[in-house]
């Protein structure tokens, strides 16, 4: 038997999943990753390794990065096997 508690009936101090618990982390960034989609081979390594989960690789359109939350660590540029991602200083 499973006991179901309706969240609306009780005020339980439960944290809910939400984007940006530390604010817009894009403001931490010192260097911005710039992608050359013509050189990209769609290997997905940058998407798998991105610690903030902001990189999306689509086979048709290539790599897109959500700059609102990208922390600019440069890990994607280091794991890219063809050097299609360059880190350029923020203005």
């Amino acid at each position: 038997m499973r006991v179901v508690v309706e969240p609306s009936r009780y005020k339980i101090p439960l944290a809910r999943p939400s984007i940006g618990v530390a604010g817009k982390t894009g403001s931490w960034r010192l260097e911005r990753p710039i992608v050359d989609n013509n050189a990209c081979t769609r290997c997905f390594l940058c998407e798998i390794h991105c610690p903030v989960n902001v990189i999306r690789v689509e086979p048709e359109t290539g790599v897109s990065i959500n700059y609102d939350y990208c922390k600019g660590c440069g890990l994607c540029a280091d794991v890219c096997p063809v050097g299609a991602i360059k880190m350029v200083p923020e203005e």
């Binding site: 944290a15 809910r16 940006g20 618990v21 997905f44 798998i48 610690p51 902001v54 609102d68 540029a77």
Partner: protein
């Protein structure tokens, strides 16, 4: 053509904008976890960097259930949750105790040993960043010899690293593995194998910390791979009573294929003060570890 699980299933659970430092290995490992289990996992997290990364109330950067527990009790709470799920007949949710090396090798050792002996059905993952990074880089028993920490500031740590995976093998649990953040596909396949085994599973995950190890955040994966390529961190699985070497470590059985440990040490600021003698003894430590692995294959 079906889409590969690792990139596509890892998209939804780890939410952007968490409180991790740039280049942190912890969210990378969570993405691999979510590629295997989706949001059908209950993470039990003791005091560690991870409890900071998840974020403050009322937010939560993981789209999965998280229980924050006191430092010493991760394995004990996970045992209770696993037993409760079994009594209720819930079989599609995986309980994962997720603790750092301080919460495993030092403070959580007693409850970990108890849970392993009782053989509760959950996965214990120790992410090994080799010091108490959250409180300010203090030495733990998992810190390697020669490493600088704020409590071993001049000569570096003088004692050898505690090998928790070997301690768990001595407990006779069904599954023990070592994994590395530099080889996420290897970590993925180990999680898939562990999820099919009933009983206590232990995975020791090597996770380089850019802040505590004093290297540039972009080299997290490179440092993790160098630890494997130099033979300092050996990737293996233990089941059916013997050790099975994993793919990336298999060619390194031949000592001539291993890179010299200097390549790993010179990338990190924490090994800035090691001298020739120390490098030699670290190399000897590598050889001894491989001898032990060869004996148990």
């Amino acid at each position: 053509m079906s889409k590969p699980a690792l990139p596509y299933k890892a998209r939804d659970v780890v939410l952007p904008g968490d409180a991790a430092c740039p280049g942190c290995p912890i969210p990378i490992a969570w993405k691999v976890l979510s590629a295997v289990f989706g949001d059908k996992m209950i993470l039990v997290i003791p005091a560690s960097c991870s409890s900071v990364v998840v974020g403050m109330y009322p937010g939560n950067s993981l789209k999965a259930s998280v229980i924050h527990v006191p430092f010493a009790s991760a394995a004990a709470v996970a045992s209770g949750v696993a037993e409760a799920l079994e009594k209720r007949g819930v079989s599609d949710v995986q309980v994962i105790a997720w603790a750092g090396d301080g919460g495993t090798a030092d403070i959580g050792m007693a409850s970990l040993s108890g849970a392993a002996e009782r053989n509760h059905n959950f996965i214990y993952i120790m992410y090994d960043n080799e010091a108490y990074m959250n409180t300010g880089i203090q030495r733990s028993s998992s810190t390697p010899r020669g490493a600088w920490t704020t409590t071993t500031p001049i000569l570096g740590k003088g004692e050898e690293k505690k090998d928790v995976a070997r301690i768990m093998i001595a407990h006779g649990v069904p599954y023990v593995a070592t994994a590395s953040i530099g080889y996420v596909h290897d970590f993925y396949s180990k999680l898939v194998r562990a999820s099919k085994i009933k009983g206590f599973k232990f995975i020791s995950l090597h996770a380089p910390c850019p802040v505590g190890w004093r290297f540039d955040p972009r080299y997290t994966v490179r440092v993790a791979r160098l630890a494997v390529e130099t033979g300092l961190w050996i990737l293996y699985e233990y089941y059916d009573g013997r050790i099975h070497l994993s793919g990336p470590s298999r060619p390194l059985l031949d000592p001539s294929k291993r890179k010299p440990v200097e390549e790993y040490l010179k990338l990190q600021g924490r090994f800035k003060n090691v001298d020739e003698k120390m490098v030699k003894s670290i190399q000897e430590y590598v050889e001894n570890n491989w001898e032990w692995v060869k004996r148990h294959m």
